[in-house]
């Protein structure tokens, strides 16, 4: 068969607009996810089972169920409840974009919380004791030493999570969103050139991944100049 890549050129503007949607989805949910993840991680570390129990269940649920199911639950599930339809949240929950953001944020926050927790717990106990013996309070300890220290440890795993989120964001196309994958499918429906267009979409995903990896390498190098290499293991998205 003949491949004709001129369709890629022809539809490039639309592919790029899909790319922009993908970037918006990933950026927003990564940022919101990190904001949700931090208190989750801190609560998860607590020795008090009343405090660590809830984040445990939350993380267990969002890591243990498919992201696609979570998206459908938010998108199709929320509208089933009258309270939701009548609430001030409805204009938001009606929008596929915000449904995707909510599902992605909840999902990535669960993974990110585990990454943060791992990083904080990877800090050697002696460095924590060095904070205690000069009379730091818990808050001072986290704010001044432990979180900045964890930041360096967290980088490789966190960069990885962003790339996983980037790939998972293709699921947004299942709820009518025209992200890169969704856009590719609509183009193909018109042109019948699946190989060319999907190859082009794949190349764009790859390019974004490379940029993310590159940025993280730079930051990591700067941050961990004198630390030697350190990284923690995190479970892959299932």
């Amino acid at each position: 068969m003949e491949l004709d890549f001129s369709v890629v050129i022809e539809y490039l503007p639309r592919l790029l607009s899909g790319t922009w949607m993908t970037i918006k989805l990933v950026l927003l949910s990564i940022v919101l996810g990190a904001i949700v993840a931090l208190p989750l991680a801190l609560a998860r570390i607590s020795k008090n089972p009343l405090i660590s129990g809830l984040p445990f269940a939350y993380i267990f649920f969002f890591r243990g169920t498919p992201l696609l199911v979570q998206i459908f639950l938010v998108y199709y599930g929320a509208s089933q409840f009258e309270v939701v339809r009548e609430s001030f949240m409805w204009p938001v929950l009606r929008e596929p974009f915000w449904c995707a953001i909510i599902a992605f944020t909840l999902n990535t926050s669960a993974y990110t919380a585990e990454i943060f927790r791992g990083a904080i717990q990877a800090i050697p106990e002696g460095e924590v004791e060095a904070c205690k013996v000069i009379g730091m309070t818990k808050t001072q300890m986290y704010r001044r030493i432990l979180l900045p220290r964890a930041f360096g440890i967290v980088l490789p795993a966190y960069g990885n999570e962003i790339i996983l989120m980037l790939k998972a964001s293709a699921l947004a196309s299942t709820i009518t969103l025209l992200d890169l994958t969704g856009m590719a499918r609509t183009i193909i429906a018109r042109t019948y050139t699946p190989i060319e267009i999907f190859l082009a979409a794949g190349a764009i995903y790859l390019l974004i991944s490379m940029v993310v990896i590159y940025i993280f390498r730079l930051v990591e190098k700067r941050q961990n100049r004198y630390l030697g290499t350190q990284s923690i293991k995190v479970p892959d998205k299932g």
Binding site: P124, G126, E127, E129, A130, K132, V133, I134, G135, M136, T137, Q140, R144, I145, P148, R149, G152, Q223, R225, Y226, L227, G228
Partner: protein, 255 residues
């Protein structure tokens, strides 16, 4: 009116699980005292020292600083601080130097030393920096202040750790085997700094295996055995003519 002792420890007990590590240790330190704590490995020296500032929670006992009792309450397994504000305030006055230095590796030497006075004591930055530089100079590391801990030798890191401790202006200094993690050729530089501190009249409790150092600088020597004080007295007494057979045996193995 006589001044209260800087530190009073009464009948300190500590149990890990069902292993009783400290079986009732009492000790007093007055201003200017340099007390060395000796004992074989596992005798409870570190545990005892760590109970003083509640890095380890004693199961029983009393702790006083300058006559002020540390407020303790019964926790699940041991005694815990009843008043966190009091604990952090008292900890600011009790310096602790670790065997493994425990510098913060993501901060420069200068940042390590400035952290406490700047962010715990909230002193003005300019003053803190001047003092930190003075202390680094005093321990002989002034030229390395912009380096990171991992770029320094063990002996240098330990001297930074001592400067970091001094930066808080502590009234009492606790040392837990400060030279045990060092290569033999680096031990001297750290002991030199500590000897200087003793000469300044600082109040110090030192857990150490450096016998000749302990003999020279100490005003009092305590020998622990299986969680109890087995021998106690002046260095002349403990090193010269100990009453305890175990202490004699211990000293004969280390000299």
């Amino acid at each position: 009116m006589s001044k209260d002792p800087a530190l009073v420890l009464k009948d300190i007990h500590k149990t890990f699980g069902d292993h009783e590590v400290l079986k009732g240790i009492s000790l007093e330190a007055h201003d200017g005292d340099v007390i060395s704590i000796l004992g074989s490995s596992g005798s409870g020296k570190s545990t005892f020292l760590r109970c003083i500032n509640l890095l380890e929670n004693p199961t029983k006992g009393e702790i006083q600083f300058n006559g002020e009792a540390l407020q303790l309450k019964q926790g699940e397994h041991d005694l815990i601080a009843a008043d966190m504000k009091q604990l952090t305030r008292l900890r600011q006055k009790i310096g602790f130097v670790f065997q493994n230095f425990n510098l913060w590796p993501h901060m420069t030497i200068l940042q390590n030393v400035m952290e406490g006075p700047l962010h715990v004591l909230n002193r003005p930055k300019k003053e803190v920096q001047e003092y930190a530089e003075y202390l680094l100079n005093k321990v002989g590391i002034a030229d390395k202040k912009h380096m990171y801990p991992n770029q320094l030798s063990g002996g240098q890191q330990q001297r930074v750790a001592i400067a970091r401790t001094l930066a808080m202006d502590p009234q009492i200094l606790l040392f837990d085997e400060p030279t045990s993690a060092l290569d033999p050729e680096l031990v001297g530089e750290v002991l030199g700094v500590m000897r200087g501190l003793a000469d300044e009249g600082r109040t110090m409790l030192i857990v150490t295996h450096e016998m000749s150092f302990a003999r020279e600088v100490s005003s009092e020597v305590v020998f622990l055995h299986q969680g109890l004080v087995e021998e106690q007295g002046t260095p002349e007494k403990v090193f010269g003519s100990p009453d305890s057979e175990r202490c004699k045996a211990f000293l004969s193995t280390v000299f």
